[in-house]
């Protein structure tokens, strides 16, 4: 409560001073009489900064306009972003770097195509937080426009797989049953039968595909990130890829008619439940039966 008092008194003082001002003449008089006020210089500085900032915001070209405008500008922007965010490992021109010990610091990106950039940066795997067995999915660091710019730059280095056409990402056109067969034949070895993923050697793993965007699944198939092989369009046609994505989407949205899914993880989880819950509950019941009777 005491805090409100000074505020109210200050307000009343402002009210008094403003009540004495009338029209433009009074403003000019105010400026001239107060120009030597200790805060005058700061007020002028603030006013100038606001004007300059506002003008820049209004007049400067926006990035999105730029991307649509000219591809060469986009490549240039991509080159700049690449130089800042990627070149420390991949080299200024995406040629890759090998340090003195012979370890690959960053692989060459010549010929990996726009799809690889869109996948790696679009899922947050790149830029890498720290060297590890495998780059992990994490929050994305760039806007889609910036990713597109870097993708355009990398694609300009040499021809490579491009980001997929919308037509092949439209899962409503896919055949779920056929996609399931293709998935089991080509993908389930690592990603399990419904895409929950699984362990690979030395800390590498096939990630869970639940909730991954169709675009990124498609790009992973054509670029083969990390330990994943490349499934090019001759091996698995774009239509096949669409079927696979449709299957994944279908199976993820499928309800579990049997009850709790317990991770759809199969016998290990089921065994744990049988022992911990099933036998545990029954032993509890057995104890109960015995104690009740001994009291009776």
């Amino acid at each position: 409560m005491p805090r409100s008092l000074p505020g109210r008194s200050r307000g009343s003082r402002i009210g008094q001073s403003s009540s004495g001002l009338n029209g433009g003449a009074s403003i000019g008089r105010l400026l001239s009489t107060r120009r030597r006020h200790p805060l005058a210089a700061i007020a002028v500085l603030v006013a100038v900064l606001f004007t300059a900032g506002g003008a820049y915001a209004a007049l400067a070209p926006t990035t999105s306009q730029n991307v649509q405008a000219a591809s060469s500008t986009q490549i240039d922007e991509g080159r700049q972003l690449f130089a800042i965010g990627c070149s420390s490992c991949h080299g200024l021109n995406g040629e890759g770097q090998i340090n003195d010990n012979g370890d690959v610091l960053g692989p060459s990106l010549i010929g990996v195509g726009a799809a690889a950039v869109d996948f790696q940066v679009g899922t947050g795997r790149m830029p890498l937080a720290a060297p590890s067995a495998q780059a992990e999915r994490k929050p994305v660091s760039y806007s889609q426009d910036q990713i597109d710019a870097m993708a355009a730059f990398v694609a300009s280095l040499a021809p490579g797989p491009d980001v997929p056409d919308e037509e092949y990402l439209d899962t409503s056109q896919g055949n779920v049953a056929r996609g399931g067969e293709l998935f089991r034949t080509n993908c389930s070895q690592c990603h399990n039968t419904t895409g929950q993923g699984g362990a690979l050697t030395m800390g590498q793993f096939a990630p869970n595909l639940t909730g991954v965007e169709p675009r990124h699944i498609y790009e992973a198939m054509i670029t083969g990130p990390q330990a994943m092989p490349v499934f090019n369009d001759q091996t698995v046609t774009p239509e096949d890829k669409r079927d696979i994505i449709a299957f994944l989407e279908s199976v993820q949205n499928e309800p579990d008619p049997g009850g709790l899914a317990i991770g759809r993880a199969g016998p290990v989880a089921e065994g744990l439940w049988a022992w911990l819950v099933g036998i545990g509950l029954l032993i509890g019941m057995a104890t109960w039966i015995v104690t009740r009777s001994s009291k009776a």
Binding site: A133, V176, A177, R178, G180, E181, R184, T185, S188, Q189, C190, H191, N192, T193, T194, Q196, G197, G198, A199, L200, T201, M202, G203, F205, A206, F247, S250, V251, E254, D256, P257, G258, G259, L260, A261, I262, R264, A265, G266, P267, V268, E270, G271, W273, A274, W275, V277, G278, I279, L281, L282, I283, M285, A286, T287, I289, V290, S293, S294
Partner: protein, 547 residues
Amino acid sequence: MSAIVNGAGKVVDFVDQRITASNWLKRNIRKVFPDHWSFLLGEIALFSFIMILLSGVFLTLWFKPTMAHVVYEGAYVPMRDVGMSEAYASTLEISFEVRGGLLMRQVHHWGALIFLAAMSAHMLRVFFTGAFRKPREINWLIGVVLLVLGVAAGFTGYSLPDDLLSGTGLRIIEGGMLAIPIVGTYLSSFLFGGEYPGDDIIARLYPMHILLIPGLILALVTAHLMILWYQKHTHWGGPGKTNTNVAGAPFYPIYVAKAGGFQFIVMGVIVLLAATIQINPVWLWGPYDPSVVSAGTQPDWYVGFLDGALRVMPPWEFYIFDHPVTMSVLIPAILLPGIILTPLALYPWLEQKATGDTREHHLLDRPRNVPVRTGIGVAFIVFYILLWIAGGNDFFATILEIPVNWITWFIRIGIFVLPPLAFFATKRICLGLQRRDRDKVMHGRETGIVMVSPEGEFSELHAPLSQAQAYQLTWHERQLPSDPGPATDANGIPNPNYRSKRVQARLSRFYFGDVVQKPTREELESAHHDGHGAESAHRDELPSGQQ
């Protein structure tokens, strides 16, 4: 009403006058069974087996045990137009089209997991309490065979739906067979009717699963129960409970009601699991295709230890006359089950040999009172759990986010290091508990009341145990290692059996050498008379509630 009762009485009397069964009935209907929660583990197995039989009969009405190829046109849309075997298609039909079919499938599968878990728990109970000792060795042996049959029933059933997961399991079994030198390829060829997978195996597993194995289980369960009935149940010692009697409730009416009630509880828990938790969703695994092995492929828990052994076994193969001998499969898949089962089956005799104890035992051992046996049991459990973890190494690697190779190496080393450690630790814990029991009997229980004497000495008050409490801690027999006797008799004639007796004495010392003996009568009396004058003086001041 009374007319009906009279009529029934007349019928019973008619039968009884001709076959005179009432004496036999009277004797058996009043059979006494002791009460303890651990005695009900076998019942869990029995009741879940009944549940499996009932749900299994239901499933046979729709399941088609054939590998004939069909194109699926059923209700499960994501499998439409996919080629599969009729076995798999009919499993989908049971799951999605037969009313109550999915529930019955899940009852059958959860029931099987519970059945095997209950058998294992029952067997551990019998082991740790020494209930397998003479005269119950035969029932122990039947139990071991039942466990093996249970695993066989489970595995054949797991394979029947012909889905991707179970097909991979069969492939591993085939691999194990092929690893058997000389006859392996023939065995595999006989079982599968030629090359794997052929189109006979489902039709061959089916009669084993629904007829042969359940028939054998049923017969052996009957024998198991008849022997139990005849030999009477073991029980814990205590006031009025000795090696020559059985104390408990009569079969009729108390035990019938109790066991009957427990039967419904067991069935209720299984149905509850089946109704709320999805098990083996074969529609997600897909039909079997020999060219596909999916990640995350595991067997049901009771085969997990074998799969685990296969996973952690280092590669090892050599050639004899150009014939490969694949030790990396032969050891974990074929030799390991024998290495585990043989000592398990023979344990009652092995222990008898070691301890030289050939008397009958109807009183159970508290696990702490036989530290070495308890240690062996825990070491085996640790060994088994390590193989279990190995069987899910990929699963645990994903969950714990550690490299799968670490788990493999942890198991490879742990399987040799941890069981002996577990044996040692368990034995020490048992000895500590025994020492505590002995202290309680000699000096009474700790009251938590600390007294200061006029000299400034702190001491805790001990309250003596009641007669019954002290008896609970001392009813067990004194276990002394056997003595080989002198090598030569008084006349200097060497004892021809001395060598074997010395070996037996050494084994007996391994079993009983470190056991903390319960106090003797003299020890007890002197403990109660000497050095406790001050304490007993204080004891009189204790409020009666604390004594």
